[in-house]
Amino acid sequence: MRIKYILAALILGMIVFSSVQTVSAEKLVIDPVGRRVQVPDRPARIIALAANITEIIFALEQQHRLVGATRYSNYPAEAQRLPKVGTYVRLDLERIVALRPDLCIGVKDGNPIVIVRRIMELGIPFFAIDPLNIDDVVETVQAIGDLLDAGEKTTTLVNQMQNRIHRIRNLVSTSKSRPSVFLQIGVSPLVSVGSNTLAGELITLAGGRNVVEGNNRYPVFSKEQIIGLAPEVFIITTMAREKVFDNIRQEWQEWQQIPAVRHQRMYLVNSDLTDRASPRLLEGLECLTAAIHPELLDMKSLNCQ
């Protein structure tokens, strides 16, 4: 009799235990920012709160788990069809919640902290990334790959990225020259990048010397200052296309004192390749290398615009 009870209790306990297991199939992970986050074992409804996160998830071939992305998530083309939840600096909390995500992946530097707090208050796990340099980008891809259990694909992608960085490092080390570079983001005003930005780091890796010094991440320049800095290479990263770029190139033609203008070393690079912390950053690195050292890499062989 007693055995029957014990058996019944055991079975009951096992049922309860197993149901608890399936309900709360969660894991505790530590995100790249160092926060402990309780996430579902297999997150199935993910919202990417920045365009680079969308790109990473697509690169890891985990896009079937995405249920939402930010407005300017334009790559790959398929990402544009995802429901939009505002821009990454102005998130639409209501749309996020309405998509019933089981995980949000966001950026520490950019997503407004007040909205992030509210997302967490509403019980949605928030995994934060904060890639500040190219090595961080590789680590971030690894972290998201692990988070999503992307397995083989993560290893392949990470190795690929590391190989491409090595290749450029080796290429650049064969050249002794370090041309001075002015990198302008956007068409106007004349905003450049400090060395402590992704694009700033790319210039150095690509074998150039950023004419911008100091701690300001996005300093604004006047034409006069640029003439004084006399860069040998002038790179404009923008989403504007060839025609706009031609106008800008035309505008600079009267300043033949600038070596970059005199030697026709003005280049256009798609800004998404240089400011998004995604695997495409390597394309940006290759494009900058081709612009700064055309003898090492041919820009025409790359898709930089």
Binding site: V89, E94, V97, A98, K108, R118
Partner: protein
């Protein structure tokens, strides 16, 4: 003389006010209750409309259903209760406070165009709030306190600039306000450009008026702090009647003018700075609502104060609904809507007070 042109307008009010204040209290209480009831219903209806409009779902029936049976659609009811409701509540609070601020400043400074935003009180509060955010203080009470300090500085500066030989010269008041405001915007842009603080990245959105970053608990605490302020100002509303007729006539009626003026101005600045700390700069609300109420309900502040609290809340919810629904994608800052409505009205009132 520009001074005279304003007083000729207020002279019309004075006669009315005297006649209103001679009403017996019983009639008065009845009038206040009727108007408050009507406006409460209006406010409630706007709030219901406010919670039923959003970026994910705009069906009023489904919303009502989700409120009555939250278990049927837990996501929608969470959106309504935890996202839309605190947002609407904050809009109501902001609208009430800014309208009330408008009424108080207009009557004490005896200038129909005075308003917390135009006078630069909001701007001062915004500087204080930004400094508080940079210092890493919490929104409440930390940022609220620095915002209050900023608004008081603005207030003192404006009073100092605009008091000359006669108390509160009207054009000088507005001009000083505009200047303090311009200076405040410059300081704000200065702070934003020198800091590399990531928390300030979104400051432009917050500055233009934003209700989305608050939860129900925070909104309730804010309301609990503000209700006593509303009550004090309502209790003092008869003195606003006397003050709007001039300091002398108020004094002759036995009002301790200086004390009352200080209490009202400081209390209004306090409320405005709390609102600025949470939702940024929302201009001209304190101009539009009191004017609307005054033309409909007359100049008696015992009616105007509750009417502005309730009507201001409804007006702001309405502006926020527009801000959420007008853009095809995303939403625009509510401050854009209040300024688009308010600035032309300000010019209209200015023109009218000239002629």
């Amino acid at each position: 003389m520009p001074d005279g042109s304003y007083s000729s307008r207020t002279a019309g009010y004075e006669v009315l006010e005297l006649s209103v204040t001679t009403f017996n209290t019983h009639v008065m209480i009845k009038r206040i209750s009727i108007i408050s009831t009507i406006l409460s219903v209006v406010l409630l209806l706007t709030m219901i409309l406010g919670v039923s409009v959003g970026s994910s779902d705009r069906d009023l029936l489904r919303v009502v259903n989700a409120i009555i049976h939250p278990e049927l659609d837990p996501v929608l009811s969470a959106i309504i209760l935890k996202i839309r409701f605190p947002r609407v509540l904050l809009a109501v609070i902001a609208g009430s406070v800014l309208s009330l601020g408008g009424v108080v400043f207009q009557s004490i400074l005896r200038n129909p165009l005075a308003e917390p935003y135009i006078l630069g009180i909001s701007g001062g509060a915004a500087i204080g709030a930004i400094i508080g955010i940079i210092m890493g203080l919490s929104r409440f009470p930390g940022v609220g306190f620095t915002a209050f300090a900023g608004s008081i500085l603005s207030l003192v500066l404006i009073l100092y600039l605009s008091t000359g030989h006669s108390l509160f010269q009207k054009d000088r008041l507005l001009l000083s306000g505009v200047m303090v405001n311009a200076f405040c915007s410059a300081v704000i842009m200065f702070l934003v450009s020198i800091t590399r603080d990531a928390r300030l990245h979104n400051i432009i959105f917050w500055l233009m008026g934003d209700f989305s970053a608050i939860n129900t608990l925070q909104a309730s605490i804010l309301l609990l702090v503000l209700i006593p302020c509303f009550i004090v100002i309502f209790m003092l509303s008869h003195t606003l009647n006397l003050l709007s007729m001039g300091k002398e006539s108020a004094q002759s009626s036995g009002v301790r003018t200086r004390m009352i003026i200080v209490i009202q101005l400081v209390l209004s600045s306090f409320m405005v700075s709390l609102v600025v700390g949470y939702c940024g700069l929302l201009g001209f609300v304190g101009l539009v609502v009191p004017h609307l109420m005054r033309t409909r309900l007359g100049p008696d502040h015992r009616v105007l104060v509750p009417a502005c609290i309730l009507g201001g809340g409804a007006y702001m919810v309405f502006c926020d609904i527009l801000a959420r629904t007008l853009p095809e994608q995303g939403e625009m800052p509510t401050g854009v809507v209040t300024a688009l409505i308010g600035a032309p009205l300000f010019i209209y009132f200015l023109k009218r007070s000239d002629s």
